[in-house]
C-alpha cells in the first residue's frame, strides 16, 4: 500500500466517518456531512498539491 492518493483517501474516509458520526445523530445527516468532508479533503489535497507543484521542494 504505497499509493499516496489511496492512503490520502483512506485517511480522509476514516476522519470524515468519525467526525460525521460525532457531530450528527441522524444517519442521513451523518452520511451527508461525511460525504461533504470526504470530498473536501480530497479536493483540497488535489488543489494544494497542484499549487505547490511549481515550488522547488
Amino acid at each position: 500500500m504505497r499509493d499516496h492518493f489511496l492512503l490520502l483517501a483512506v485517511f480522509a474516509f476514516f476522519v470524515s466517518l468519525v467526525f460525521a458520526v460525532l457531530m450528527r445523530d441522524d444517519p442521513r445527516a451523518q452520511l451527508r456531512l461525511g460525504a461533504i468532508m470526504f470530498l473536501g479533503f480530497i479536493t483540497s489535497a488535489l488543489v494544494l498539491g497542484w499549487l505547490m507543484y511549481p515550488l522547488p521542494i
Binding site: R2, H4, V15, L17, V18, L22
Partner: protein, 141 residues
C-alpha cells in the same frame, strides 16, 4: 402534552443520569478511552459506538502496517513527546502495540510519515470520542 414538546430519549437520559455520578463518570471515561466507542455503547448510542469500535482500532492497525513509529514519552524532543501523548489516546490498541513491541517504525520506509499520521490521529480522534461520551453523560447532548 404541550404542543411542540417532544418527550426526551428516556433510555439514554436514564443511562446518562446514572453515568453522571462522579465515580461512574470516571469509570465511563476510562472505559471509553481503553476501548474506543465503549463509552457510547454504555450510554446506549449503539450505532456510534460500533462505528468508533471499528474505525479507531482499524486506523491504528493501518498506521502500524504503514511502518509508523509509536513514540516514547521523551520530552527532550517536544514534537516526539506530543506525538507520544496523542498516540496514547488510542487506548487498548496502543497498550497492545507496546506489549507486542510493535510500532518500532522504519524511518526510511516510504510510508513512515503516513503511518505516524494514522497512529497520531487515531489517538486524537479517540480523545474526542471520550469527550463526546463525557458530554452525553453530563446531559449536554
Amino acid at each position: 402534552m404541550i404542543p411542540g414538546w417532544m418527550p426526551p430519549k428516556t433510555r439514554t437520559t436514564e443511562r446518562a443520569r446514572v453515568a453522571a455520578e462522579p465515580g461512574a463518570l470516571v469509570l465511563l471515561c476510562v472505559v471509553a478511552w481503553l476501548v474506543p466507542g465503549a463509552g457510547h455503547l454504555w450510554l446506549g448510542r449503539m450505532q456510534k459506538g460500533v462505528i468508533f469500535l471499528c474505525a479507531i482500532p482499524l486506523m491504528f492497525l493501518i498506521g502500524l502496517m504503514l511502518e509508523g513509529t509509536i513514540f516514547p514519552f521523551q520530552f527532550a524532543e517536544p514534537l516526539a513527546g506530543l506525538a507520544a501523548l496523542a498516540q496514547f489516546g488510542a487506548g487498548l490498541p496502543w497498550i497492545f502495540a507496546r506489549m507486542l513491541d510493535a510500532g518500532k517504525g522504519t524511518v526510511t520506509a516510504v510510508t513512515w510519515e503516513y503511518g505516524n499520521t494514522f497512529l497520531i490521529v487515531a489517538g486524537m480522534l479517540n480523545a474526542l470520542i471520550v469527550l463526546d461520551a463525557f458530554d452525553i453523560s453530563m446531559g449536554r447532548k
